[in-house]
Symmetry: C2
Subunit: 512 residues, 2 copies
């Protein structure tokens, strides 16, 4: 196998060279942040939250369900275990979490697409999890594997999308216990950006790791992180056996997990921001520490998904002020833990990619950007509270992400940026359109949206009075028809397909 | 007249008491900011911009056109005047500007609606200037006085709108040289929030002041600011006679002006953020200093309207990253000048209140909020690059403003906010819906949007699959039908109408 790997590895490198030479795809580099992070909580406020979270861990505890091994690991680490309840003495979880790296690189099969997660970096990844898709022509319908592939392609084609994501939609046309093979394969085949692994069962996590080994080589995986996967808590304060099993598989293989309390405040946490922060920190501390019990130094991300519910109907709401404050506060708590932070995105509750969707998405994305989130899941395509992956919204959001990346570059204070010669050349009452400085900076001067219509009313009317959704539907079609697959070493491709076929044949289909 | 005034004044107070007793209108108090301001430029960066702006003022200069008196005032102040060009020695404008107050109160006829402008305060005011209106039923059409009154009413009915604004749309059914009477009267009659004065000719500014004197009394005006008016520069670096005439009238009457460079970067300023900041500062410094030459201590706001143009078509663009950076930078420059700052709003280029409109508006409003803008003109209703006042977008934006006001309250760290009892009561694996803490905080827990649809897909479908624009049109109708006029002392009303009739008869109609 090692010899095989070497041969294929060379093929892989050649293929990668070919990609770089052939595809003229626009792709932004990773984000370089020159805009300061905004903190909403004082150190005193943060200390209150941290004190309270430790109190919760010690006095109330966290349930680790359906995983005897996990309970034993906690006993060995010094926690008080009673049934599935793990009470963690004050300071212990934070102490154990200290071996988690402050940042790490997730390697992509195209090394130019590898991402740094942590520190001042921000990585954008697509929507995760919806069972439905929506587009203008087909309306709202159950997602299929074809849709999954399309969203992987759209992410690949989006310059400010740094990551291919994971379950960009649920391909419900495939059996539940086997669709992970097709999903992971689609990320590998149709994109060369980094991707996420399956977490719906420990053996599916293991399958993902095996496929990553075929792609990168076993030795490479031992020393490098090539997968980042989503481990959700069952809030309040419960980690279940499925997620723990996936977490153990990934952490022990030195692959990254984001341990994410998924909270609709008011139902799964208190109705206050500070209470939600406290509970999120307690849950995240337990998850992060557990990853370090699995393997010291394994990369782990402090995750937080927090929204609120309508106190009238119980429906989840998005883009409201309280989750924005949770987001800012959580980012500060994660920085004090010195681990990367995942949250935010372009969340909304709207049924359509209309004004509500856009306001709510921006109301999540701006706090995401200003609070310095490191890994932004759901950065594009999220609709209807996460039930729907929207084609049109994906390209709208991707346009917004590119603007955010431009914004984060900050203000250019070079001599060219200062533009004193231009002001002196033009003088009062004239215009800058023809001056030398404008001509020289014409190409790169301002961000150009591919979605916004900035023409005159008359021109817009003559073109059919199309709203943003209709124009975006055209963008989707044009992008997908322009898609070209990034070359993949045929030997690797064959080995991946062999592995998938063999595994698929080894157990019967099931929808659980 | 003094006796008359006293009688009416008592009537006014009684009327105001009646308002407070009768109307159960929801109105938020002024914003209390507990979220820190974000700065994007370092002190070193700011010093570069300031140095450059002083260099521009001294070496290039600013044109003060069609106003011999202004030129003489500058000569007397020590500037180098050549034709209409005023070259201001380095440091002089900043020195003269020192008498401008760091903050001031604009008094409303309902004292509960008075606003503090400057410092940590943020005041929201409606869209200003569009010749067109749009609503779902009537489409896009020229604005009329009826529309003007409707927008004043909508602003009055919006809890997070602190100000009635000025030209909420241009009533083009009235003669240009007389419509200011009707506009100012509409603000006084249909709202009790503070408002803006006419600036389209010096005598129209004077008419506004006379009407304010009828409303508040001459003596009161001498010591209090009851008008804040918009004085735009003709960028680059030109102040014209019309605006200077209005500025002189207001400043000499101790009424506030916002001297605002109106810049589409790339056409009216360099294509860079730093260059646009430099030019904006130079223009604003000249305007602010000139207000202080008119009257030391007169309230004046550092205004900035900055967007960019499409380098392909020359069309203005909104919600892009570069104007956001200008906004952050300008806010810092204004704070260093120690004067209030006006900028931002809910700007967009979209023709419809759709996703583009919402993304772009949020992309302006978030920087507005995070940079600490003191006076936010165009906070609601702006559509199509400012050509259109949109009824539906007004109520959508007003909902966003209410969310921003909630956001700015920051995180409640009281015992109730910390919610430790709730977390301990509920424990792992349960839910918070029925716990005591949730019941106690039910009413005030989370912001409730009147525009967003958060129900299930099925419910939304059953209700007609209405998008945000359609739902907002219903909100507009329901608000306008619920409107009740805040009582106005009949004696003041009569005197205002007498004044208007007398003035209107004293000169012929004209459309210039």
């Amino acid at each position: 196998m090692n010899d095989d790997r070497k041969r294929r590895s060379r093929g892989g490198r050649e293929a990668r060279r070919a990609v770089r030479q052939k595809v003229k795809l626009e792709q932004f580099p990773n984000i370089i942040r020159n805009v300061p992070i905004t903190n909403v909580l004082s150190d005193e406020g943060l200390e209150i939250i941290e004190f309270n979270a430790e109190d919760i861990l010690q006095e109330v505890g966290v349930d680790f369900k359906d995983d005897e091994e996990a309970l034993q690991m906690w006993r060995d680490a010094g926690a008080d275990v009673n049934g599935v309840r793990v009470r963690i003495p004050k300071g212990l979880a934070r102490e154990i979490a200290k071996t988690a790296p402050p940042n790490f690189k997730q390697v992509a099969r195209n090394p130019d697409r590898s991402v740094d997660i942590g520190g001042k970096n921000t990585v954008f990844a697509p929507v995760y999890g919806p069972p439905f898709v929506r587009d203008l022509d087909g309306g709202r319908r159950y997602a299929t594997m074809k849709d999954f592939e399309n969203f992987v392609k759209l992410a690949y084609l989006s310059p400010a999308m740094h990551h291919s994501g994971g379950t960009v939609c649920e391909p419900v046309d495939l059996p539940v216990n086997k669709r992970h093979f097709d999903m992971v394969y689609a990320h590998i085949k149709y994109s060369d950006k980094p991707f996420m692994g399956s977490v719906t069962a420990p053996e599916r996590a293991q399958d993902t790791i095996e496929m990553a080994k075929i792609l990168f080589g076993s030795d490479f995986l031992e020393k490098n992180t090539v997968l980042t996967s989503l481990i959700n808590a069952n809030s309040p304060m419960t980690w279940d056996g499925t997620m723990l099993g996936a977490l153990k598989a990934y952490s022990r293989a030195n692959q990254a997990v984001m341990t994410s309390p998924f909270i609709l405040a008011g139902a799964m946490s208190p109705v206050t921001v500070a209470g939600t922060l406290t509970q999120t920190l307690a849950e995240a501390l337990a998850g992060i520490a557990f990853s370090q019990l699995c393997r010291k130094g394994a990369p782990v991300i402090f995750g937080s998904f927090a929204s609120s519910i309508s106190m009238q109907s119980g429906s989840p709401t998005f883009g409201t002020p309280e989750p924005a404050l949770v987001l800012f506060g959580c980012a500060q708590l994660a920085r004090r833990l010195n681990v990367p932070f995942r949250s935010g995105g372009s969340l909304c509750g709207s049924k359509l990619p209309d004004a509500q969707a856009a306001y709510e998405s921006a109301n999540t994305l701006w706090p995401t950007i200003m609070s310095g989130v490191n890994f932004v899941l759901h950065a594009a395509g999220w609709l209807e509270g996460g039930l729907v992956s929207s084609y049109e919204k994906f390209v709208m959001d991707a346009d917004q992400l590119a603007m955010m990346q431009t914004f984060l570059k900050g203000i250019d204070l070079s001599e060219n940026g200062q533009a004193m010669a231009a002001i002196k050349e033009v003088g009062p009452g004239a215009h800058f359109l023809g001056c030398n400085h404008t001509q020289e900076n014409f190409e790169t001067a301002f961000y150009r949206s591919g979605i916004a219509d900035n023409g005159t009313f008359e021109q817009w009317q003559a073109e059919g009075s199309r709203n943003t959704e209709i124009r975006s539907a055209e963008t989707v079609k044009s992008l997908l028809s322009s898609y070209e697959q990034p070359p993949l070493d045929p030997a690797i491709d064959e080995e991946l397909r062999d592995f998938i076929n063999r595994r698929k044949k080894s157990f019967p289909d099931s929808n659980t």
